[in-house]
């Protein structure tokens, strides 16, 4: 397990080159890709989660870990290869009118590193496109990140639009600087996440309930 611990440390340090090299060593030592994801990547994300408290949470640290995770996943699952089994699918987007996608990208990294499949609606995403994606993907949840307040009226519509398509079982999670100032009730969503990890905890509870 020394290499696995080293991989966890490399991810937490945001060391992309070391993460890639250790992933190669683990593969050569006979570890299967899903084991590296569960014992290495997910363990690192869990450690990062514990480290990022409400008082000490910054995008840079998570971005660096996320970049290392992205590199590892590319090595383990090159384009075209079958994806690992996932806990659930989540559709993420920044809605039309909001071109700030860093928060959404952070959520994507945290979820991918924690065993979820993420369908990315991108930034400035029109509501019809988001709902179409939800219909196609049948996700556990839709995650909406918002940095600016003018998107709030659109956020409020998401749950009703999902319901109109018979997707009332899909949970709506909101986060980001503007949205987290509001309550779930005022945003008409199921959960307002204080951080990407807070959103992850909510999804983990949903996954637990489904099992």
């Amino acid at each position: 397990m020394n290499e696995m611990n080293a991989l966890i440390a490399a991810i937490l340090a945001g060391d992309c080159a070391a993460s890639a090299s250790l992933t190669g060593q683990l593969r050569r030592a006979g570890f299967a890709a899903p084991d590296i994801v569960m014992q290495g990547v997910e363990a690192a994300m869990s450690a990062l989660d514990g480290k990022c408290t409400a008082e000490d949470f910054n995008l840079l640290e998570i971005m660096l870990a996320g970049r290392a995770v992205t590199e590892i996943m590319k090595l383990l699952y090159p384009p075209g290869s079958a994806l690992a089994a996932t806990k659930a699918t989540v559709v993420v987007a920044a809605l039309e009118g909001d071109v700030h996608d860093l928060g959404k990208n952070i959520l994507k990294m945290v979820l991918t590193g924690s065993g979820y499949r993420v369908a990315d609606g991108g930034k400035d995403c029109p509501l019809p496109r988001l709902i179409d994606m939800a219909e196609e993907e049948r996700p556990l949840a839709v995650g909406i990140s918002g940095l600016i307040t003018p998107v709030i009226p659109r956020v409020r519509q998401v749950r009703n639009l999902l319901k109109e398509r018979g997707l009332e079982g899909v949970k709506v999670v909101a986060g980001g600087a503007a949205l987290k100032q509001a309550s779930a009730e005022r945003l008409n969503v199921d959960f307002v996440a204080e951080s990407a990890f807070d959103g992850l905890h909510y999804l983990e509870e949903l996954v637990g309930e489904r099992r």
Binding site: G14, A54, E55, D56, F57, N58, L59, L60, E61, M63, L64, R67, G97, V99, L102, N105, I148, T149, P150, I152, A177, A178, Q181, A182, R186
Partner: protein
Amino acid sequence: MNGLQRIATAVQFQATDRVPVIAQVFGHAARFCGVPLDNYLQDGNTLASCQLKAWERYGYDAVFSVMDANVETEALGAPLRYSENQYPVVERYPLSPEASCDGLTVPDPEQAGRMPEMLKALAVLRREAGDKVAVIGCVLGPFTLASQLLGLEKALYLAVDDPARWGRFLDFATEVAIRFGQAQMQAGAHLPMVFDPAASPAVIPAAVFREFELPRLERLFQAFAQAGAMANWLHIAGPAAPILPYYPKAGVQIANFDYPVSAPQVRQQLPATCVDGNIKPLLFVDGSPAEIAAESAALLDAFRNRGGFILSSGCEIPPEAKPDNIVALVQAAGNA
């Protein structure tokens, strides 16, 4: 006492006739006057006229020439997309991550992009309001402006992968801020507020702030003080508590604090610095005047025996805010 005197006195921790109040009204002034935001942001006369009308209506203690977070970015060559109801967005950043900033020249505030319009707005505001109210300009702080050259995500990776090159981006950004801020004071600003959201601990660890941002802020604020700034005002939103202890060394005399930082925290960390804050901006949109009054009363209580406090929102009051909520904020200061 007038607004300017109130703020200047609060900075010195001396007694004022009432607690100064600054509603961070920027684009809301356009909405208030029924003017399209893109017009307000591109025409200095329109901006000044809307700011003056909003000031006459609300009666707070400062007016602003703040446009949006992309004035400098545009002046450095980034095309922006404007719209009637929202702040403009960058269509293409001026530099790629591989590029050096050595080829960039510090923009001339009299010529570049909308910088001359902001100077025009400041001249009108000062001419019309004189010294009755604080006339506040705005520059982007080093971390935010340097990030705007590449886009935040790429900039943050560069800061880690090539700190020396990132340092040169920050030095360049500091020079841009110094020149633009000096021009704003020459045009009529009592001070240029330094707006630096990308330096927030929400984005970078406090150690990165200390190593990269602090020395540049010191340089920037020294230059502003020498140019006659009434005070040095730093505006970093979000959970700023871990970096507050560095503010006095940076030369900060007014520290904005946002709603994730509590009044006791800021009192403890900045015992001798005037602070402004910290009502949740969104409460001005979907809250009620009674809620604003209650939040204001709690803040006024928290600073009652200390002084050095300006009642304000934690960050910009959104353009779509309800006017009655801004009235409630100003009334709360009057009732204190």
